[in-house]
């Protein structure tokens, strides 16, 4: 099974790396961070196995109280490197953070698919495809927002990023808990419920910005 996961990793990442050479600047950045997200997912799958062993194979406890923290930290790390070394532009950070989250979710879905090949269905794919991808994307973007203060306001960056990391870990924990419980349908709609207001807010802000630019 381990070999299969690594095989999947190579099959997914290799074409994306080849595509990178042909892409323009912004697209290149987005696809790069998707690849990084996939790599982080592979790393986390190994880390989670170790964590599971440390907590006496208590899958429910580990997935609802421990792995949300480890996964959020692992996903945030590449975004932090970008914010510190390259750019702290908020739009760029939110985009690459979302891309890393989506890459992470894509590979996580593949790993779960391989592990539960007998029981998966199209319905499962639709639900996981939308809910998990959105959940990881929203969580990593939230942390990316905090990192945009890395050069502008250092004090705000340290505390804000930590607090946003805490918030996204809780959100991730709620999602993991709901999807494993009898209330799993609430878990499936939770990411959409959070994603829609964010999208509405982003469009509202763009409209306001455009309006103020026109009125001068």
């Amino acid at each position: 099974m381990d070999n299969l996961i690594y095989t999947l990793f190579v099959c997914t990442v290799a074409p994306l790396i080849l595509m990178l050479l042909l892409l323009q600047k912004r697209s290149k950045l987005i696809v790069s961070y998707m690849i990084i997200g996939i790599f982080v997912s592979l790393f986390v799958s190994e880390l989670n196995t170790i964590l599971l062993g440390l907590f006496n194979d208590d899958m429910l406890y580990v997935t609802t109280a421990i792995t949300p923290i480890s996964e959020e930290i692992a996903k945030a790390f590449p975004v932090l490197i970008f914010a510190v070394l390259f750019s702290n532009d908020r739009d760029k950070l939110l985009t690459i953070a979302f891309a890393a989250g989506i890459g992470f979710a894509m590979f996580e879905n593949m790993v779960i698919l391989v592990q539960n090949i007998e029981s998966v269905s199209i319905g499962w794919a639709v639900v996981r495809g939308f809910s998990t991808a959105l959940m990881h994307g929203v969580c990593t973007s939230a942390v990316g927002y905090g990192m945009s203060f890395v050069r502008k306001k250092k004090k705000l960056f340290y505390c804000g990023t930590f607090a946003l990391l805490a918030m996204s870990s809780i959100y991730h924990g709620i999602f993991n808990m709901l999807v494993q419980s009898e209330y799993k349908y609430f878990g499936f709609i939770l990411p959409a419920v959070t994603y829609i207001p964010i999208v509405v807010q982003v469009f509202r802000n763009r409209l306001l910005n455009n309006k103020s630019a026109v009125t001068g």
């Binding site: 306001k153 705000l156 505390c159 805490a166 494993q180 509202r204 306001l208």
Partner: protein
């Protein structure tokens, strides 16, 4: 017919009327659990003081969060107010986690769980808003304000004293003791700035004078967090409920207080 019987049974269990015999009541309760295990967990949960406390705080925190989201999340709005909105949101998410954990049969008392991060995250947001944004506006570091920098140390001193008396000197397990220590450290840092901004004579900008009500509420909230942590660690359900209700009320009026303060300052 079957539905009527079920309805009557649920009604009897909740209100405890119509059934006189104890044996009959036990029979009905067992029959009800057998027929509706999920509903029983829910009804049983409603009697759980921790669940009620978490629901109240969660609803209030989310109302504050939504209010702040509508008022403060437009272009060129104060980042300070956004941080406080995030604090309410973080608390709301923490409470939602604990509600889901209770309803799915998990434990929130004896072991580390992510709900604690809601409190920690919320306190860090409050600390960050004052330390990272507002304090640099008000305090220029000059010697004439030295006493306004010393007096607020009373708040962290009180938090540490609370921790020593109620946590260190009582038989508490190591992990809850560490978690309470982390919360106390953040409460200390956040409460210092809230008390400072409550007494500081903001002569240059006047913004802190307009935010005194918010700073008072934040200070109360921080100490309520400590009291609630004590209630959770010692398993005092009633205290948890009281602190949960008070925390909810404070969170409910915190973002409107910030909005009022900012409006007062700008007009």
């Amino acid at each position: 017919m079957a539905r009527n019987i079920k309805r009557q049974t649920a009604y009897d269990i909740v209100l405890n009327i119509k059934i006189d015999s104890f044996d009959f009541r036990c029979y009905y309760i067992l029959q009800y659990i057998y027929n509706n295990p999920h509903k029983f967990i829910l009804w049983g949960g409603l009697l759980n003081l921790y669940l009620v406390s978490n629901i109240i705080t969660c609803v209030c925190a989310f109302i504050g969060f939504i209010f702040g989201g509508i008022k403060f999340f437009a272009p060129r709005k104060a980042l300070y107010a956004q941080m406080i909105t995030f604090a309410a949101g973080c608390m709301g998410f923490g409470r939602l986690y604990q509600i889901v954990r209770i309803l799915t049969g998990g434990n929130i008392l004896g072991e580390f769980q992510l709900g604690v991060l809601g409190v920690i995250g919320s306190l860090v947001f409050l600390f960050s808003a004052n330390f990272g944004l507002m304090d640099t506006l008000a305090d220029d570091g000059s010697k004439k304000f030295l006493k306004y920098r010393i007096i607020p140390a009373a708040a962290p001193a009180a938090a540490v004293a609370f921790y020593v008396v109620f946590f260190v000197f009582s038989d508490i397990e190591t992990i809850p003791l560490i978690v309470a220590g982390v919360v106390t450290a953040i409460v200390s840092a956040a409460s210092y700035f809230n008390l400072k901004h409550l007494i500081f004579p903001d002569v240059d900008y006047g913004v802190i004078n307009c935010l005194k009500l918010y700073n008072l509420l934040a200070l109360i909230f921080e100490f309520l967090c400590l009291a609630e942590m004590f209630a959770y660690i010692r398993d005092y359900g009633t205290l948890a409920l009281v602190t949960g209700i008070l925390t909810g009320i404070v969170l409910l009026i915190m973002t409107p207080a910030v909005e009022r303060g900012i409006k007062k300052w700008t007009t």
